[in-house]
Structures are given as C-alpha cells and as structure tokens.
Symmetry: C2
Subunit: 459 residues, 2 copies
Amino acid sequence: MSKKRIYLNAFDMNCAGHQSPGLWSHPEDQSHRYKDSEYWIELAKILERGRFDAIFLADVLGIYDVYEDSRDAAVKQGAQVPVNDPMLVVPLMAQVTKHLGFGVTVSTSYDQPYAFARSMSTLDHLTKGRVGWNIVTSYLNSAAINLGLDKQISHDTRYEIAEEFLDVCYKLWEGSWEDDAVTLDKKNRLYTDPTKVHNIDHKGEYFNVIGPHLTEPSPQRTPVIYQAGASKRGRNFAAKHAECVFISSPTKRIAEKYVKQLREETKKVGRDENEIKVFSLFTPIVATTQEEAEAKYEEYKSYSSYEGGLALLGGWTGIDLSSYEPDEELRYIKNEAIHSAVEIFTKIDPDKKWTVKEVAEFVGVGGIGPVAVGSPERVADIMEEWIEDTGVDGFNIAYAITPGTFEDFVDLVIPVLQERGLVQKEYQEETLRGNLTGSSQLPLSHPGKQYHRSLQKSL
Amino acid sequence: MSKKRIYLNAFDMNCAGHQSPGLWSHPEDQSHRYKDSEYWIELAKILERGRFDAIFLADVLGIYDVYEDSRDAAVKQGAQVPVNDPMLVVPLMAQVTKHLGFGVTVSTSYDQPYAFARSMSTLDHLTKGRVGWNIVTSYLNSAAINLGLDKQISHDTRYEIAEEFLDVCYKLWEGSWEDDAVTLDKKNRLYTDPTKVHNIDHKGEYFNVIGPHLTEPSPQRTPVIYQAGASKRGRNFAAKHAECVFISSPTKRIAEKYVKQLREETKKVGRDENEIKVFSLFTPIVATTQEEAEAKYEEYKSYSSYEGGLALLGGWTGIDLSSYEPDEELRYIKNEAIHSAVEIFTKIDPDKKWTVKEVAEFVGVGGIGPVAVGSPERVADIMEEWIEDTGVDGFNIAYAITPGTFEDFVDLVIPVLQERGLVQKEYQEETLRGNLTGSSQLPLSHPGKQYHRSLQKSL
C-alpha cells in the first residue's frame, strides 16, 4: 500500500452494551449472548474477514455506582454489569482465526505478577503469538474494596506499582528462559537445558520475585503492550511502555493535541515517535445510503438509555449528574469534578450549551467517542480525515449494536477502505506484533527488551 | 445400570510428563504439545468418546527443587516444568464436547476470591455448567516466595484461609444474584432487577468482600468442588466441602482405610456418607493380550527417568533421596521426612525392601498410584476389584504416554466396562454436577447451599 494503512481494533467487553447503554434492548442486538462461546466465535470470524488487527477487550472489576450514589442504574440497564472475565474467551476466538490479535485488559493493582505472567504466556502459546495486554491501574473504588484494599490506592501510587509490576513481567518474559532452553532432545533425554533457565531475582518496593518464569518462551515473549492512560502520569507511562495507545476523544482537536504530546514524550524517552500506534475510539453507523444511515442512527438513539448513559459517565468521571433535570444545562459550578465534565463537552463544540439529556444521548451511542453516520464512502472519508488531521494510526471501533455494527462496517466500509489502499487486503505476518510492526519480538528501543538475555552484559 | 457405575476422570496437567517423568522421550508421547490448542481438543474428543465424566487438571505454581536441593533434575526431565495455566485450555475443550466436565486446580493461598469467583463463573457459563474446582492450598515453598509471601504459610493456616476463601466464594456464587435477577425485559428496558442483586457483606479474618458478585448465575452456580487433601486437616476439609475427592494410593489397603475415615467424617458433619465421590489414581497399561501389555509396560519403563522420578517424589514428600546410591535400600533413619517416605513404600508391600532405583521406577510410570498392566478384561477386573474392596467410586486415570494411554483405555477397556454395566453408555445430564449427582445445583446438605437466597431466612 502506498499510503500509511489504517490500523483497526474492535472494541468490546465480556458484558452487554459496552459503549451503548440501553441498546441491548434493540431487537437485533446480541450483546446479551456475551456469556456464550458462540457469540465470541461468530464475532472473531467477522473481524478476521474484515482484516481487523485485533479485538480489544475492556474490563472492570467493579460496578458503576456514582450516579445517584447507587449501582441501580447500571444494573437496570446492564451497563457493563454483569461482566465476565475477558481472558477466557480469547482461546475460543483464536481457535477459529489465524491472524486476528487479542488485546486483554488486566489491572496491575490487584494481581501477583508471577501468576499473571504465566497466564499471559499461556495465552500467547495458545494463540500462537497473537496476544496483547491492555494495562490498567483500575479506577473503581468498588473494585479496590472487594479485592482486599481498604480503599482505592492513590493514582500516582497505582502507576508506581504498575511500573514495578511491568518490570517483573518483562524480566520473566524476556530474561528468564533463553530462546533455545527447551531442547526436546529425546536421544539425550534432555527436555530443557537447566543452564539456560534463569532466576530473575527481583527485589523491589512492592514485589519480590525470584523466578524463574514457569513457562517456556512463547512466540512473542512479551505480549503487545496496550495502554489507555489519559492523565499526565498515564501518558508518561504510555510513552515509556506502550506499543498501542487507545484514546477516547470526541473531537479531532482533542485527539490531535494528545497525539502530539504523546509523540513528544515518546521521543524524550528515547523511542521512535512513531513506535506507538494510537487508536481512537470511533463508532460507525453505516448503511448503503446516507439517508438510511441517518435513519438507523435515529433508531439506535431511541433505544439508548438516559440513566445508563449517566451511570457510565459517572463511573468514568466520578461525576454524579443525578441532581440535574434532564433539560438543565451543564454548567460550571464550584466543584472540580463537574468542571471536568463540562470541559469534555465544551471541547466538543465551544459554542454549544449541553443539556444533561443531550449529554446522556451523546454517551448513549459510542460512549464519549465520535459517531460517524453515513454511506460507506462518507464514513471512509471521515476516517481518512481523522487520520490526516490528528496523526492517529487507527481506530478502536465500538459498536452501537453487536455484531450488527461490526457486520455493517466489515461488509460496507472495509471494501471502500481497501479500494483506497487504506486497509490491508491480507495479513502480513503470523503474530500480532508481527502484523503491527513487522517483527514478533519487542524492538530494541523498548524498555522490556533490555531484559532479554542476549542483551544482558553480565551473562 | 444395575451395578453402581464407575466414575472416571482423566488426570492431566498443562505441562509435559505429568505422572510419568521421562516418558516425554517415548517416540509416541505427545505431551510436549501441551502448549498447543490442538492437543487439548484431540484429548477432549477421545475422553468424551470414552464417556469420561471429566478431565481433571492438576497445577503447581512452582518448580520441584528438593532433589539435590536444586530444580535442575525437574527442568532437565521436563517434570511438571514448564507448566502453563490450566484454566485457559478449558474453553477449547468445552467447545468440542457436550458433556465432558473440567476439574481445574486453583490454589486459595495466593488469589483474591472476588476476582477468582468471577473467573470460575465465566468458565461455568462458557462450558454451560461443566466446571469443577480442585481446591488446593499449595505446598511448594518456591511458589509462596514468588507470589509475595516471605515463606510458605503454615499448613493449618493455609486451611483456615481456604475455609474463608470458600465462604466468600459460596456467598458470591449462591447468595448474591437471585435466580430470576436477569430479566432481559426489552419492553420495560430492564436488563436486571436491582432488588434481586445483593451484597454479600463478608467481613472476615483474611478477606473483606462487600460484593455483589459481578457475574449473573451460571448453570451450576458453585462449580463442582474437588479436593485432594490427604492430611487429617485436609480430610476434615474434604468431608465438609468436597463433592469429589482424589486420592493417590498405591494399594487397596491404604485406599480402603482412607475411604472409611472420609465417609465417617462426612457423616459427622451432617452429610450423607456417599455424597462424596472418591477417585483413586490409576494408570492402565493395556493391550489386546496380556503379553503385549506387559511388553508395553517394560518398554515404557525403559523411558522413565530416575532423576525425574526422584525430583517429583522430592516435591511431593519434601524428601531428598540424592544422598542414596541407586541400589541402596530405603531405610528408616532418624529423620521424620525419610520416615514418611519409607512408610509409603513399606505399605505397598510390607515384606519388600525397596532400593532407591525401584522407588524411582515405581514413581516413573503413574506417580505413586497403582499401575494395572494387562488385557482389557484383566484391567477391567482389577478396576472392579478396587471398587469392591476399597469403596472408592471411580478412578483418576493417569497416562504413561499421552494420548496413547487414554486411547488404549477408551478403545479397549471402556467397551468391556460398558458391557459389564459399569461405565455409562450415554451421559445422563447436561452439566457436570448433573452427571455426577442428578442435579446441577448443590445439594441441601452442602455447606455452600446455605447461602442460596431461597434458603436464607432474613431476606
């Protein structure tokens, strides 16, 4: 392809109505089937047909309970609750695909890196090198309390723990087993050469792990690292570790600013500024004609849920909008939290005054990301404009209804993008990192790579 | 069937050479393929063809490092290392079977029950009610250190933690979501009735979990509880909680004694003495004729590993036999640990003096369980005798080579047992607990059941 290709993730979660609260009630939506294997198998096949790079699975280990100071709205609308473990559906999807990657969200705040590193290596083996890890530090207070903490750890401490957690994982994945440690030498009856399996001897502030890793080297060793931190500390963390960054930006201007800052910080830590692929949240509502697409969007909106939208927004921002009337305007008041919510929406359109109902409707289809409504050509145009104007590398495609939104996109928009040379017609490599970067292994500039035995001076 | 049927588990682990150290080097053995999906898919199909009740997956989160005070012997022989996460292969096997159950080993000593309970519920959903949980409290010091503890927690404290861990899980699985909480009522736009989702408000010594559970009720709610504790405290724990118990007994006399004690203790805690199914470790080496089977056994033994056997035995018993010469007799010396190793082997045959080489050979095929070598009829006879003489309900079938041992058993012995009315010709129910007991739900006498909302007085 002559032009830079557009990278594509599908954005989903092991629950109903991920970024479209209320749309589970749409007659065609299948998201309530999230607990059945078949749901994931069908979805994976659709995505590979559309040459998606990966499916990205979000996760929370708690329930959104800020709105009305209660979890009831989230529960009533199935807004990301009930929610199942994302890791366990990956082997199913890998089994019916050959190239599709899998980004799985796991928090560094509650797990032990030793056991977690084994689980990810196991997935990398079972998928033959198609696993990514979306690192989150977890923001929900309800999760922290249920997972053994008195209250949520402070934001900056969570990132400190995450840094050390990652260090332990890198050491296990890259530095413990040499490439040729497993010999399977039947003649000499040597399964593994013990001189090529090394302890990691990690002694830190939060973790002490001697090692060695329990798992033999998997195709990618370190899974592809995803990150979504929007805060300054989060961006800094992403600049250092991430290979893919996911942003939720309602407008091109906000996305552009973030991408610029991220690229600068990436250079500062000694990596190539384009080494990180940035994926922007994007919900396409597409039909053969513009009119049909617009009618479809109106129909979807009629199923979106006011309280579901505000429940999700409450969880994401910490802001409870329940004291507003639906027709009341969002306004600056003396409260830092509300301040930030107003900011999100004034940035979308500085001249517009948002009522709470409009806010809920906006979140109702596609979360706080943009919704592109139109004919296949129009949606393809919007995507091209985003890429050109913001510097993002691709999109995290969210659904209004599932698998309907993904099917529409794959059947209608992908052929247009392929025709324009913007989406790959065939996958290039076997592994996820291979497809994204041309190599299955971490690049030399990545901080995890320093732990690979071949690069350690003191062998 | 007129006679009591024999219950059958296959015993495996997400690693090579599970109970047959060295046999990975046999030309036909496929255990080194443990990291490929296809290995598990093929195995699951063989087992369902043979009407096995379940496959039981052992696990350790450490490496056997007692022998020679080093992990080298285990590493060289691939003796349960490298070892991958067992949970992640279950969805793959469930997808190609309809009835086979899956017993997964997870320790209660390092995990948080809140996240773990969600993973098990997810598996129970994905398998449509075919999951069991083998509760272990973990015995390897190397695991404890790598998982954040300064040293192994004491044996009794581990069981105290396990009791409370289970209580939290029971509350989440049985007591948090009412059966009809999820309504999926599209007309009234009610996904879940929030008045039917309850906090568990658990405040304990080791865990504080408010809840609610994150997952909607799965087909079995609580997975079938497996346990393998052989110690007094372990037996007591099993009597209270287990639905299936797994024993590794080299002789019928030892098995009989254990079963008797377990049934008595089960009665003492108010459960029916036959409510627990006891599975005895058993390795069948079978061929069309007795001679062929014996030749096969001799051939297998020639691939077993001396150091691999002693590495496993070291891990299981804590005893390092490296200071013995291979031809030296195992003897009582002033050391409690050696005492217990001698006991295991004198119980097999009180008149026999065991050399260390014989001990290693014994462990080399089938661990410390019995090996039945013979024609299909002879192996079926031995199994019948075990059932009659010991009171066990069935067997945990270990492999010498895989899938060869399972294929031989399914093709040759199962038809004989079916002909005798001892093994089911068809599965009776859809879920694992259904197949074992006739009902998918915990029985009223089980301590987990008390937390089910319908049985709680203070609704």
